[in-house]
Amino acid sequence: MQTMLHAWIQYLPFFLKGVGVTLELTGASLAVALGFGFLLALARLSKIRILEGFATAFVEIIRAIPVLIILFWVYYGLPQFGVKLPGPLAAIVSLGAFYATLYGEIFRGGILGVDRGQREAAQALGMPSGTVMRKIILPQAFFAILPPSTNQLSNLIKDTSLVFTIGVADLMFQANAASANNFLPLDMLLLAGIIYFIFYLVLSKLLARWELNVQRRRG
């Protein structure tokens, strides 16, 4: 116990640096995933055949491949074909693309999940389709989208732990490097685990409570 605390204090600065990297990667990947995901959702909902077909294929293929392989392929593999991304960017592209497929499906489900009657009611009032989307569909889809979105966000944070394999110094990397140094893997992994778990609790408990409050205020 004593030695563990000692080791924790000794390595804490490195871990905190890792936390910073983890959060930056999460934030950037999330932004990519949300933006690209929304486009994917629109493409899949659109009446333009090729667009829909392309988006569907992209979603079905990318989400069937493990994140780790996407990551390796983007980082180590793509240069073979002349595209070279720096580690953090490769991580953001990989995680962003993978999570865009998941968020895209969430968005699509949210939009489709809005009762058909809502669209009809808005159309029957003479609203143009842009207004229907902005004022009626999206605000309602938002609340359906929120819970699965935070759920995926906590998955995203966890999946950033894979980037140490391409030399990006995130939290998991620090735990790994520290235990290669002091040969106390359990202590180091536990410290990282506690930090990851705090993120998880914040997302799954606090955010969930906030969501519930928002829902209740409306209901």
Binding site: Y76, T165, G167, A177, S179, A180, N181, F183
Partner: protein, 264 residues
């Protein structure tokens, strides 16, 4: 060996003899230990040396391939019996006992052969550059000693060379043998040796030798004695040089002073 006598299975030597198996914790460092792509057999000079040693004990090699950082841990944990040859550092000495030295290394700076990110093998030239190393290797503190360096750590030496060849990093600190071998095996890699890691940041020459690590303590002592004797023999009788020749390491500098070096 639950059934064998207590004395035998309580020591590493007893363990190896009774199970007829010597487990190496590998990490695919070429030319020390790597998988031949054609035959999928493990090969390399460490593998050849240890295979000979295992044979002398009536055992066969079993290979556990892990990321480098975990491979040392695996031996410390007695999950595997012996590391590949590694540098002797204070940290490692806390968890491992070391054999006598078996090879001289030089830590070298590798750079991209087409557009070198560093042009001089001096600390000042390296200052502030991105330097690749392997997680858990002795080169990590060397690179970290360069002021302002951005140290990028990879899971394997091959991955670090790839990064260098693709120009992701300015320099890569590795044993010179590894750089030379990688260049020879894969001429398409854009890497070359720039020079030795500056003396001011590289460790003393003693520790720049290769040592086999085994689990720390009296558990390994009898095994180490046998190993040391074997290593001394092959260094003296030219067997080791023959093995090295297979990997293009014909220069006498690799074994200079090895046969007369003291046991650790």
């Amino acid at each position: 060996g639950c059934g064998s006598s207590a004395g035998a299975s309580n020591t590493l030597l007893g363990q190896v003899k009774s199970t007829h198996q010597l487990i190496i914790a590998e990490s695919a460092f070429a030319p020390q230990d790597y998988q031949n792509p054609q035959t999928k057999q493990w090969t390399g000079y460490d593998v050849d040396i240890l295979r000979g040693f295992a044979k002398s004990l009536g055992a066969k090699l079993k290979i556990d391939a892990l990321p480098f950082s975990s491979s040392i841990q695996a031996v410390a944990d007695k999950r595997a019996d012996i590391t590949i040859d590694i540098y002797k550092t204070a940290n490692r000495a806390k968890v491992l006992s070391f054999s006598r030295p078996m090879l001289n290394y030089d830590d070298a700076i590798a750079v991209n052969s087409q557009s070198p990110g560093v042009t001089q093998d001096s600390v000042s030239a390296l200052k502030g550059k991105t330097i690749a190393v392997v997680t858990g290797s002795a080169e990590v503190p060397e690179a970290q000693a360069v002021p302002g360096a951005n140290v990028t750590q990879y899971g394997s030496v091959a991955e670090s060379f790839l990064a260098l060849s693709e120009g992701r990093v300015a320099a890569d600190f590795q044993p010179d043998t590894d750089i030379a071998w990688a260049k020879r095996q894969n001429p398409s890699l854009h890497i070359k040796i720039l020079g030795a890691v500056p003396a001011s940041i590289s460790p003393p020459i003693q520790s720049l030798r290769g040592y086999f690590g085994v689990p720390k303590g009296s558990y390994s002592q009898s095994f180490l004695n046998k190993l040391n004797a074997y290593l001394k023999t092959i260094a003296e009788n030219g067997t080791e040089q023959k093995i090295l020749d297979k990997y293009g390491m014909t220069s006498p500098v690799f074994l200079k002073g090895i046969s007369s070096a003291p046991n650790s």
